[in-house]
Amino acid sequence: MPARFTPLPDYPFIDAITEHEAQFRQEANLWYDTDYAFMSKSTLKRYKRMDLGRVAARMLPHTSRKECNTPLNRFTIWITIMDDYYELATKKNLEALRVRVADLLMGEKLTADDNGILHQVAKTRIELAPHVPDRWFERLVADMNSYIIYGMGGESPYKISRRIPPLAEFMIIREWSIGVHPYLHLVEVENDFILPEYVARHPTIHRLQDLISRLSGWQNDFYSLEKELAIDHEMMNLITVIRHEYDISLDEAYAEALRIHDADVAEFVAIHAALPDFGIYQQEVYKYVSYLGVLIQGLQKWYQLDTHRYDPDGFPKPEFGSSQID
């Protein structure tokens, strides 16, 4: 994408991509033509140009169990499509969605009413179940619930009323609306090490996860800024919010956003360097945290090299609840 705003974020994390990247892309195309075929042709065309198969290939590049690649790729694509598809859904619709996603992730069977997105959710469960314990699914579902209620649901009041939230409130919503909190559970699968309960609930680990979620939100806001400025009704972008909060120019707001972003990176690095003593799990936990960094680095590379998601006309219209499907 043309770098109208510079400098772009920079990370001290390893940049990697899986050797199975071709497989990731082929799978994605197959799913668009089958489970996702219920969506409009123009939406599917946009997804094919977005190269979503590259997202998991870059964010989770170290998956050692080959059979986990497919569910990780699958998860990445359905969570993205779900977020787009239900963008204009009401609170009641979102609650119904939340319950269904949670039930399917906990192993319930599909029904005739479930759409293709939910079919993909159910398949992810079946494919991951042999590799992870139930408590992992329970933790995933808890974060998925929060994402759908607070993240997907938190932005809509501002989008509908076209108001811009205060910065402090925005930061809380954005951390959840980006959808990365539930996604981070996949890093445990990538690392082939499911965090023991004591580690998974440890406030230091939570803070690191919060920071990665925030960072992915800020990063998304940098790369989607031009698209959002063009459509003129995006209220939920860090730069827009800062500009409104301090009544400053776009360039000044961009610089301030980058400062916030960089402070979060520095905080993440400082905590990683001073991890608590997790005893026999120390090495695995250290590696898990490194992979959180790889994830954010990989996502940046996808924005920079792979996707057309943020080009003019690259983004799909939210189809759920919309009567104008072409």
Binding site: S146, G154, A168, E169, R207, E267, I271, A274, P276, D277
Partner: protein
């Protein structure tokens, strides 16, 4: 450390620096005196492991007043008891095990958690601190604390104990942590999170659903409250902590270490940091998410979180015995590690 006149002057200067202020009224539970009497009784019966001098000092601190000031609107003494118990025993255990190792603290943590969540139902016959945590669970059941709220309460006590465990590393090494690490640990060790959870036992707040009580917006407010309590404690206890080796978990000391500035300048930076958190609290209070028919109840709940912080602070400014020279109870437990 020497106690020369110039030292005294130095500490007197520190005490003249500006202090935090809160725009919330402070209250006290009407049964505070009765709760104090019970507290003296706990100390005499349960804390026989401590020296006589330590016990008398603890009594002077009236630690249960923190609970009476933090949650002044609880309906009965029965409802105050589980909070007063945690407050007093949490503070006294922190003093007692001040100098134990991280591994020792980890074992203490596991045992207390098992007593609180009912995994271990045997009434402890040893060390009074463990016995008191067993009593806490019995008292919570007696006052009909909703299980959902009890679970949040003891999970947050568990986090306090994790904080006590992690701070040992920095105490032992006698170095302040980097600011990001301080923030994680201090949010826990301030003891403020269990108070935030317990505020929902007051008035009609127990009706608030989990969608409210676990909302990221509300959880951020809890974090801010816990940090403000940790920070205002740091301002008050600074002179004591500068005197004692190893008391490195203080925001002023962290700022001084990170920015290599004189102590007065570090103090000003720390106070500004605190005040920014207070501003964020006020803003989030005025910009609550849409909670439908609960909206007013949530607004009042957050107001009472502010009253809680102001109440805990009022204990610090009214209690003149804990943080003066010689008033503090030194850790009597001798580490076996």
């Amino acid at each position: 450390m020497s106690n020369s006149i110039s030292d005294e002057q130095f500490y007197a200067e520190l005490q003249r620096l500006p202090k935090p202020r809160y725009p919330f009224p402070d209250f006290m539970h009407p049964d505070f005196q009765q709760q104090r009497e019970e507290y003296y009784d706990w100390i005499d019966r349960e804390y026989i492991l401590h020296s006589k001098a330590a016990r008398e000092k603890h009594k002077l601190h009236n630690l249960t007043d923190i609970a009476a000031r933090g949650c002044p609107f609880l309906r009965t003494l029965e409802e105050l008891r589980p909070l007063a118990n945690y407050t007093a025993n949490g503070a006294m255990m922190d003093d007692y095990w001040d100098r134990c190792s991280r591994n020792e603290m980890n074992e203490v943590r596991k045992r207390i958690v098992a007593l609180l969540n009912g995994e271990d139902t045997t009434e402890p016959t040893d060390n009074g601190i463990f016995h008191q945590f067993w009593v806490l669970r019995q008292d919570a059941i007696k006052c009909c604390m909703p299980e959902r709220l009890y679970k949040k309460y003891i999970d947050s006590i568990h986090n306090v104990l994790i904080g006590y465990t992690e701070e040992k590393v920095y105490y032992r090494a006698n170095i302040p942590p980097p600011l990001p690490v301080y923030l994680i640990i201090r949010e826990l060790t301030s003891g403020g999170l269990p108070f935030c959870k317990y505020v929902s036992m007051q008035k009609d707040y127990r009706q608030l659903p989990d969608d409210v009580l676990a909302h990221p917006h509300i959880l951020r407010i809890h974090t801010i409250c816990a940090l403000m309590i940790g920070m205002h404690n740091d301002f008050i206890s600074l002179p004591k902590e500068l005197r004692r080796e190893g008391d490195t978990m203080n925001l002023v000391i962290v700022m001084q270490h990170a920015h290599k500035v004189p102590i007065e300048e570090a103090y000003t930076m720390a106070l500004e940091f605190h005040d920014n958190h207070l501003k964020e609290f006020m803003l989030l209070h005025e910009h609550l998410p849409a909670f439908g028919e609960c909206q007013d109840t949530v607004y009042n709940y957050v107001q009472d979180l502010g009253i809680m912080v102001a109440g805990v602070y009022a204990w610090h400014t009214n209690d003149t015995s804990r943080y003066v020279n010689g008033g503090y109870v030194d850790g009597e437990y001798v580490s076996q590690d």
